[in-house]
């Protein structure tokens, strides 16, 4: 069953230098229980897409299109209805656990908040639930550690505590924004294992926003590749790694250490000054005249494999 369906989503910011077109005509579908990876370079609009689902962008942002969650358009809900979705139905795991936690509140107080807000529990009962969930994310001796402050936790423990906070109300959808950023490799592996275990054991769906292909390969069922503001390729995880079609995806994968370490030409364009036609044409080795003027449409080239490129017309 479809849990979240994003249709024709556009997100534009107005700045002094002009409109920043962070997300342009994005369509995405997340099924119940699915983990979808959204990969792309820094600054391609991944995080903005994630934040727009929860309507966390500032008020001067122009958001158009539809974000249907269980059939309801989130963009049409009022602030009070939206608050009931945030944390309870859709939770977000932020990328930097040290700055995403309040430095003056104890871990226990912070993780008990979703229970108090969404389940109406008293502090005392909520704390019992916090201890249980910290145990689930394998924080050692949780009944003592709930009285500690975020700075007393190690990086990996903080990230696991963040995950616990996200999972607290058993949301149907988790938006994980680079949950492994800034962690060293062994801790990263632990966090990935934990997330894998938690998402496969429940019906929870996840949108994993990352630029780390290794993490995406471990966790995701499907992958959407984003290149400034739009989805350029969508495929099953195995298919994407075995058979990348879009020249950007090919370049991206080719730049991995295990696959030749070949750098791509050029730089990602600025979101203020996007090229006409195909956004990738200035860097594309296969660019033709047509690519400069006309924006390619998504074409289905295999089972559940879509690509936005004229090469496959």
């Amino acid at each position: 069953m479809t849990l979240l369906s994003i249709q024709n989503l556009k997100v534009h910011f107005h700045t002094e230098d002009g409109a920043v077109r962070a997300v342009n005509d994005v369509d995405l579908v997340i099924e119940e229980g699915e983990t979808l990876g959204l990969i792309g370079e820094t600054g391609c609009g991944k995080t903005v897409l994630g934040l727009s689902i929860l309507r966390l962008l500032s008020e001067n942002t122009k958001v158009e299109g539809k974000i249907l969650y269980k059939g309801k358009d989130l963009l049409k809900l009022n602030e009070g209805e939206m608050r009931k979705i945030r944390g309870k139905e859709i939770a977000m795991i932020f990328q930097n656990p040290l700055t995403s936690m309040n430095p003056v509140l104890t871990i226990g107080t912070q993780i008990s908040e979703p229970f108090e807000l969404h389940q109406g529990l008293k502090k005392k009962d909520a704390i019992q639930k916090v201890i249980a969930i910290l145990k689930l994310v394998r924080i050692p001796s949780p009944s003592e550690r709930i009285n500690e402050y975020p700075h007393e936790f190690s990086g990996g423990m903080r990230q696991r505590a963040m995950i616990a906070m996200g999972l607290a109300c058993e949301p149907s959808l988790i938006l994980a924004d680079e949950p492994t950023k800034g962690l060293d490799v062994t801790i990263q592996a632990q966090v990935v294992d934990l997330m894998k275990e938690l998402t496969t054991n429940s019906k929870t769906s996840m949108l994993l926003i990352t630029h780390d292909l290794g993490v995406a390969a471990e966790l995701c069922d499907n992958i959407a590749v984003m290149y400034p503001g739009e989805i350029v390729e969508y495929a099953d995880i195995k298919e994407l790694f075995k058979n990348p079609k879009h020249p950007y995806t090919q370049g991206f994968l080719g730049s991995l250490p295990g696959r030749g370490l070949k750098p791509m030409n050029g730089m990602s364009p600025s979101l203020i000054d996007l090229p006409e036609g195909c956004k990738f044409h200035p860097r594309c080795p296969f660019a033709r005249e047509r690519c400069k003027n006309k924006r390619p449409e998504m074409v289905e080239i295999g089972k559940k494999h879509f690509v936005r490129c004229f090469l496959y017309d």
Binding site: K84, R86, A91, N102, V104, E113, P114, L117
Partner: protein, 280 residues
């Protein structure tokens, strides 16, 4: 919180301040039990006597015991200053948080009021307000509360502006917290420490202002044993009976000093940069 107390304990001057304040608070609370005489009872046979065994600080022009009056004075000054500080803190925190968090026109309006009030010296404005309301202790408290909150509002607004951009505020919103909840539970605890320092330092200033207004005849009215009023009453006898002014004057000085000592110590203890220096 523990570390702040420990840090304060190392700071000798702050500890002296704290001890003096605790001592004065103690005698203020116990005033009815420890004063040798009734502070407003007249004894016309013993007028203007200087310090002796019966009257440790002598008596005034109506034969009232100065020591008893000074002790009752501590009661009035400390309790009034505490009330004023609590009111200005609450008012300032509320105004500062609203201005900083909501921004826009509301912020502009509140901060312009703050700017206008800051443009005048505190004591002049308090004089005007107390003068309009008429002389009494309550009116002095109202006058001081009405002008003193602006400093707090300003400090709080500045801190709220920086804290509200932090990621944990966005994380709290993503968790489904309402604006009020975010402001009270997530932002306020992050901005309170400078206010605690300011409030401690202000206790001294407010005691001084209350005494000043009373000295000028706008605050406590005779026969209330307020330090400023006592100074004023002693003025005609300054040359023949200087103890009438020396003792209340000394008390004001000691209290203000004690609060300044403690306030400075608190500021150092709450400043993380100072913490590192002290640990080395």
């Amino acid at each position: 919180m523990m570390s702040i107390v420990q840090q304060l304990k190392k700071d000798k001057i702050a500890m002296i301040g704290a001890v003096i304040i605790l001592f004065l608070a103690g005698i203020a609370i116990l005033a009815p039990h420890i004063t040798p005489y009734d502070p407003i009872e007249l004894d016309l046979e013993n007028r203007l006597s200087s310090s002796d065994v019966n009257h440790l600080m002598g008596t005034d022009n109506l034969g009232r015991d100065v020591l008893s009056r000074v002790i009752y004075g501590a009661r009035i000054s400390l309790s009034m200053a505490t009330v004023v500080v609590v009111i200005v803190m609450l008012l300032g925190i509320a105004m500062g948080t609203i201005a900083g968090y909501l921004g826009g026109i509301i912020d502009g309006t509140i901060m312009r009021v703050v700017d206008v009030l800051l443009a005048f010296p505190n004591i002049i404005l308090a004089l005007v307000i107390a003068g309009i309301l008429g002389p009494s202790l309550t009116n002095v408290m109202i006058a001081l509360s009405a002008i003193w909150w602006v400093g707090y509002a300003r400090i709080i607004r500045g801190s709220v502006l920086s804290v509200k951009e932090k990621e944990f505020v966005e994380a709290a919103r993503a968790m489904g917290c309402s604006d009020t909840h975010i402001a009270i539970r997530h932002i306020l605890p992050n901005v309170l420490s400078p206010v605690i320092v300011l409030a401690t330092l202000d206790m001294g200033h407010i005691i001084l202002s209350i005494a000043a207004l009373s000295f000028l005849g706008l605050g406590a009215q005779p026969p209330i044993p307020e330090w400023g009023t006592m100074l004023n009453e002693g003025r005609p006898f300054m040359e023949t009976a200087p103890h009438l002014m020396i003792f209340p004057g000394l008390m004001i000085m000691v209290v203000v000093l004690a609060f300044n000592f403690l306030g400075d110590g608190l500021r150092d203890a709450l400043d993380p940069r100072m913490k590192e220096v002290m640990m080395k």
